[in-house]
């Protein structure tokens, strides 16, 4: 089959049009690599049949690791023997997806040697995805990767590859060092990352400010989102310059502040910082004039996940404000406390956000040893179904 000329009329359609074409990418590799060629062939079949031709992965991986490789098999192995086994590696990306050309070439060379030559830059979790490896290639490829300084990321019921926004690397709004925090946490939890031992996956994401450029609040069991406590820094000259240049400060800034805490008299922008909820909007619109305050740190939120199976969750506030200095001890203490409780009482395939809903946030906090604070909730309960402790402490509510 690999010999026959490969006809892909349906996929060829997708070489047209202005947007860069993944088909062209596959063909680039296919020119030299049989696995890539058969990927194309099988994909064309999927386009004809309107169905995936991949089967479930079995347990494949590298020795000593429980995660980092996603097993995959073709359901047309006779026709496409080269991709009969077609596993992916999740290679842990560097913080912030920063590279040098040299680093990239190293990865390309290794992947040319051991795999299909196809990648995802990057997977949704953040990894470098090396797409399509045979089982026999796994160990040698892994050896070459680690030799060159690269390691695998997570998969299965483990810590998943943490990721972070560009942060202090290039952003003026980073309220803490996202790159350092992401790297430190990744290194600290190598064991938890490589050896699944949780009820289900556990994702960390680090965003430098409430803009959340890494979608932490939507996709991570532990979302660490930068913020500040004190007053927004204002350069009044620059505000006036924006106004002069045509920005309608009233309509674009004042009226869109969610708490209505900004006023502008044409000369001076005044912010009632005690009402500000640190949403970033005014700063976003006037980057030269405004900046987050100086007393910076992060809000820790927990429990985000996709809908399977109880419904999607956004993370919810766990620690309203925390200082973020290396070695990030509080984050680690919190994460480990969570793993202890969830590890003991969590059900199989129950994300921590679901677990908390099941056992009750109040009870969970007691187990973790955190005080409940009203910042954790949108509003207090509306239903009267309170589980009172054995002994009611009356004066608790005086």
């Amino acid at each position: 089959m690999a010999e026959k000329e490969l006809k892909t009329p349906l996929l060829d359609e997708l070489e047209n049009g202005p947007w860069p074409s993944f088909v062209r990418e596959i063909k680039k590799s296919a020119a030299k690599n049989a696995m890539a060629r058969e990927t194309l062939g099988q994909l064309e079949r999927s386009y004809e049949d309107r169905i995936s031709h991949w089967k479930h992965g079995g347990l494949v991986g590298v020795m000593g690791y429980g995660g980092g490789v996603i097993g995959r098999y073709s359901d047309l192995p006779e026709e496409f023997p080269e991709v009969a086994e077609f596993h992916t590696y999740r290679v842990n990306q560097p913080s912030g997806w920063f590279y040098t050309s040299e680093a990239l070439r190293t990865i390309c060379d290794i992947w040319e040697k051991h795999g299909s030559g196809l990648t995802n830059m990057h997977g949704s979790t953040g990894d470098i995805i090396l797409l399509g490896s045979k089982t026999e290639a796994l160990e040698p490829c892994f050896a070459d990767l680690t030799e060159a300084g690269w390691d695998l990321g997570g998969s299965g019921s483990d810590v998943r590859t943490p990721s972070c926004c560009v942060g202090p690397g290039r952003c003026e709004w980073a309220c803490y060092d996202t790159l350092a925090a992401c790297y430190d946490i990744t290194q600290t939890y190598q064991d938890e990352l490589h050896r699944p031992m949780f009820p289900y996956k556990y994702k960390f994401k680090f965003a430098g400010c409430p803009n959340d450029c890494v979608a932490a609040i939507a996709r991570s069991d532990m979302s660490i989102i930068g913020t500040w406590k004190d007053s927004i820094q204002i350069d009044q000259d620059e505000v006036r310059a924006y106004a002069a240049s045509g920005v309608d400060i009233e309509a674009e800034v004042v009226e869109l502040c969610p708490t209505g805490c900004i006023s502008w008299d044409g000369e001076k922008l005044v912010i009632d910082n005690s009402e500000c909820v640190k949403c970033m909007h005014c700063i976003n619109v006037l980057p030269k004039a405004l900046a987050p305050g100086k007393e910076r740190g992060a809000t820790i939120l927990i429990g985000a996940k996709a809908p399977i199976v109880g419904g999607a969750l956004l993370s919810s506030v766990f620690v309203p404000f925390i200082e973020m200095e290396p070695p990030f001890e509080e984050i680690k203490e919190l994460a480990e406390a969570i793993w202890d409780v969830w590890g003991e009482y969590g059900k199989n395939r129950e994300r921590v956000g679901e677990f908390i809903q099941r056992v009750g946030l109040g009870n969970f906090l007691e187990e973790i040893g955190l005080e409940p604070v009203p910042e954790m909730i949108a509003h207090p309960r509306t239903n009267p179904y309170i589980f009172f402790d054995e002994e009611l402490e009356e004066d608790e509510d005086e």
């Binding site: 409430p210 009402e275 909820v277 506030v317 009750g360 906090l365 409940p372 207090p380 309960r381």
Partner: protein, 360 residues
């Protein structure tokens, strides 16, 4: 067993026979109203006709002697026409403004205060309590009386930021609109039911009883050879639903019954959508005859609200503007794990953004 002559299914009397002639004439043709003073309203019709209303507070629980008194007052001042409001105030409907003052004086002399209009605290909607209900965690009329004694001036004046609706219910059945009130006072049981295994098999059907429990805390069990049930204490949140369906599940408990306070609900669609009340204070002790802890808690809420809310801002609208953290700060109410929802849709009440006011 002939039903013969006996009338049934006649329904209530036709309201039209009870309408004041001015109302009949201008029915559906009102133009505007004014509230010249607390408890007094004038509604002006397109025709130019006017109907004056004098509103008085009552304890809702009325002796027929008092109803007869109202009837007499109506005869003398409002042509015999009167009505009650949806919050059990009595309203006299006058066509002659000269009758307002003498009517007010008589009502006051008999102990019925004039007010409840505009931005006031009107009468507390409430329930039966120990006067009639079997499942009440506290009395109703007594708590209401104790609270209103302290809020009296809020009834007879109109200088709150907006209307402030207080409601009371004596158990989680919440007979009223406690679940949507600016301030709700709610009797709560805080211990699982005591089971009378003697009576249970005689009085109740076990399957119905088992299925009545929203948390599945009740399980069939054989006790002393009889078919009965047992309650998994950990799972019980004392709703009393089992007691409603089975008298042998005694939920009342003199030691542990008490009162909780809820805030920020509303019903009207004015400005913001209707809202549920939210938990402010999970538990206060049952302290008849004057429930001082409850009275203090309510007065504190009213005063903090009165001081901080903006004009036209209902309790819940004010709290949403300032945020719950500040609400707890300003009122001095401690925040506890009980405030965090852990019932069915609990997760919906978690704060799922970084919109926080970090100020302390």
């Amino acid at each position: 067993m002939a039903v013969a002559q006996r009338k049934t299914d006649i329904g209530p009397p036709d309201y039209r026979q009870f309408l004041h002639p001015v109302i009949k004439k201008n029915y559906g043709k009102w133009k505007y109203h004014e509230i010249p003073e607390p408890g007094v309203m004038v509604h002006v019709a397109e025709s130019g006709d006017r109907i004056y209303t004098v509103r008085a507070g009552t304890p809702r629980l009325l002796s027929i002697e008092s109803i007869r008194l109202f009837a007499d007052l109506a005869d003398r001042y409002s042509g015999g026409y009167l009505r009650w409001t949806s919050r059990h105030n009595v309203e006299f409907l006058l066509d002659d403004p000269k009758n307002i003052e003498p009517l007010k004086k008589e009502l006051n002399d008999h102990g019925y205060p004039i007010g409840g209009t505009g931005n006031s605290i009107s009468s507390i909607v409430h329930t039966q309590g120990w006067v009639h209900c079997h499942s009440s965690a506290s009395d109703a009329s007594g708590v209401v009386k104790a609270v209103m004694d302290q809020l009296y001036e809020r009834f007879t004046t109109m200088d709150l930021p907006a209307k402030l609706r207080v409601a009371y219910a004596c158990c989680l059945n919440m007979c009223g609109a406690v679940h949507c009130s600016d301030i709700a006072i709610l009797g709560v049981h805080t211990k699982p039911p005591t089971i009378n295994h003697e009576d249970l098999p005689k009085m109740c059907e076990v399957p119905t009883l088992v299925s009545s429990c929203p948390t599945g805390a009740i399980r069939p069990a054989t006790v002393d050879g009889k078919q009965s049930v047992e309650v998994e204490d950990e799972q019980c949140m004392y709703c009393g639903n089992c007691y409603t369906v089975c008298p042998a599940m005694q939920i009342n408990n003199a030691e542990s019954d008490g009162i909780s306070i809820w805030v920020g609900g509303k019903v009207s669609n004015a400005r913001t959508e209707p809202k549920f009340s939210k938990l402010a204070i999970p538990y206060l002790p049952n302290n008849p005859p004057r429930w001082p802890e409850v009275v203090d808690a309510v007065v504190n809420l009213v005063e903090v609200y009165a001081k901080h809310a903006r004009k036209h801002e209902r309790m819940g609208e004010w709290i949403e503007r300032i945020g719950w953290p500040r609400f707890f700060e300003l009122t001095g109410i401690p925040f506890t794990k009980y405030h965090i929802d852990d019932f069915k849709h609990a997760g919906e009440t978690f704060k799922r953004s970084t919109h926080l006011k970090h100020t302390h």
